[in-house]
């Protein structure tokens, strides 16, 4: 009945390429962990993660639950600053409330 959470620092995320990031997240989630990324994923990376997830859905792995704060407009509205993203196995994680600055999720062991 234990649930593992991986809280990943922005420095660690920034040291990875997009592909490495997505692989890292999905491997964690598929082994039943809740993955929290400081600084989060861009919308493009999140879309890629959905795509990658879909290639790996099977009878045992039904997919992911993902929640994140929308990115903030940065300097001159050009640079976008992504914020926290949390991803977990769809079977274990259920987002109950979400708005611009608050995410509530229920996490249960399978």
């Amino acid at each position: 009945m234990e649930i593992k959470m991986n809280l990943i620092s922005e420095d660690k995320i920034n040291s990875m390429t997009s592909t490495e990031k997505l692989r890292f997240v999905l491997d964690g989630v598929k082994s039943g962990d809740i993955v929290v990324l400081e600084g989060g994923l861009t919308s493009e990376e999140q879309m890629k993660l959905i795509e990658l997830t879909m290639t790996e859905v099977d009878d045992d792995f039904s997919g992911i639950e993902m929640s994140g704060y929308p990115s903030k407009k940065g300097f001159l509205n050009i640079r976008k600053k992504t914020r926290l993203t949390v991803i977990g196995p769809a079977k274990m994680m259920h987002t109950t409330k979400k708005d611009k600055d608050l995410i509530s999720a229920i996490i249960s062991a399978i």
């Binding site: 861009t42 919308s43 493009e44 999140q46 879309m47 959905i50 795509e51 997830t53 879909m54 290639t55 859905v57 009878d59 039904s62 997919g63 992911i64 639950e65 993902m66 929640s67 994140g68 929308p70 990115s71 050009i78 640079r79 976008k80 769809a90 987002t95 979400k98 708005d99």
Partner: protein, 236 residues
């Protein structure tokens, strides 16, 4: 790395702004499963092409559409005869407003499979499918999601359809919008199913204040002219 990507997206924006589109604009009807995408696409075809032609089947089972379907050469004509027929599409309350720009626009309309982050075959069994059939459908549904995402690369504009009775602030909706903004692709949000008593198109407008939100009922044909006007304005 980050700045390289930024330049790429700026270049994409420039290219889109300067280049003449190859052929007709392709408009994707996107949204979560069961939002009413196929119902809307069929209605567009019925109104502007052929009232007996369907692009696909609309049902209450999610992931009914598992392949994207393109209907080429749909002329959105705001003066179309069928729009004048009170029994078909024109919302009785909505007056014909003065048009901005031309009243005709030729488009390819693409009905896409619903986007989702999870697909559980048990869900299909709850709709009465046998286990084998449910698993096959789940597999096809995952392929459908991938196809919908791949289609984004070829799309010139999207209508993002949401069910007004449901919470619009989902990660998939946010991700679609974020991707379209990054690519500089025009997006219209249609708040569907306003015929239902617990519909709240206002909740959608509040969730995405920077976008135009058009309340419609694709099933009953309410407020369609507002949507067509917005399409004619944004997708040319």
């Amino acid at each position: 790395m980050k700045s390289k990507r930024r330049w790429k997206s700026i270049l994409t924006l420039l290219r889109r702004a300067l280049s003449f589109r190859k052929g007709t604009a392709k408009i994707g009807i996107y949204g979560p499963p069961n939002a009413g995408k196929t119902t809307l696409t069929n209605r567009i075809i019925h109104t502007f092409v052929d009232e007996n032609e369907d692009v696909g089947t609309a049902t209450e089972v999610p992931h009914e559409t598992r392949r994207a379907v393109r209907r080429a050469g749909v002329t959105i004509d705001l003066k179309a005869k069928s729009l004048e027929n009170p029994n078909s599409d024109l919302n009785s309350e909505s007056e014909v407003k003065p048009k901005r720009g031309k009243a005709k626009l030729k488009l390819d309309v693409v009905d896409t499979p619903g986007l989702a982050t999870k697909i559980d075959f048990h869900e299909f069994m709850a709709y009465g499918l046998e286990e084998d059939e449910a698993k096959r459908r789940a597999k096809e549904a995952t392929e459908g999601v991938i196809e919908a995402i791949k289609w984004l690369d070829d799309i010139d504009g999207i209508v993002l359809l949401m069910d007004s009775t449901e919470d619009p602030y989902t990660q998939t909706n946010i991700v679609i919008i974020g991707n379209m903004e990054a690519r500089g692709i025009p997006i219209i949000i249609a708040a569907n199913k306003v015929d239902l008593v617990d519909a709240s198109p206002q909740r959608i407008a509040n969730a995405f204040p920077q976008h135009s939100v058009i309340p419609i009922s694709a099933l009953k044909g309410e407020n369609m002219l507002d949507l067509y006007e917005e399409m004619a304005r944004r997708f040319r």
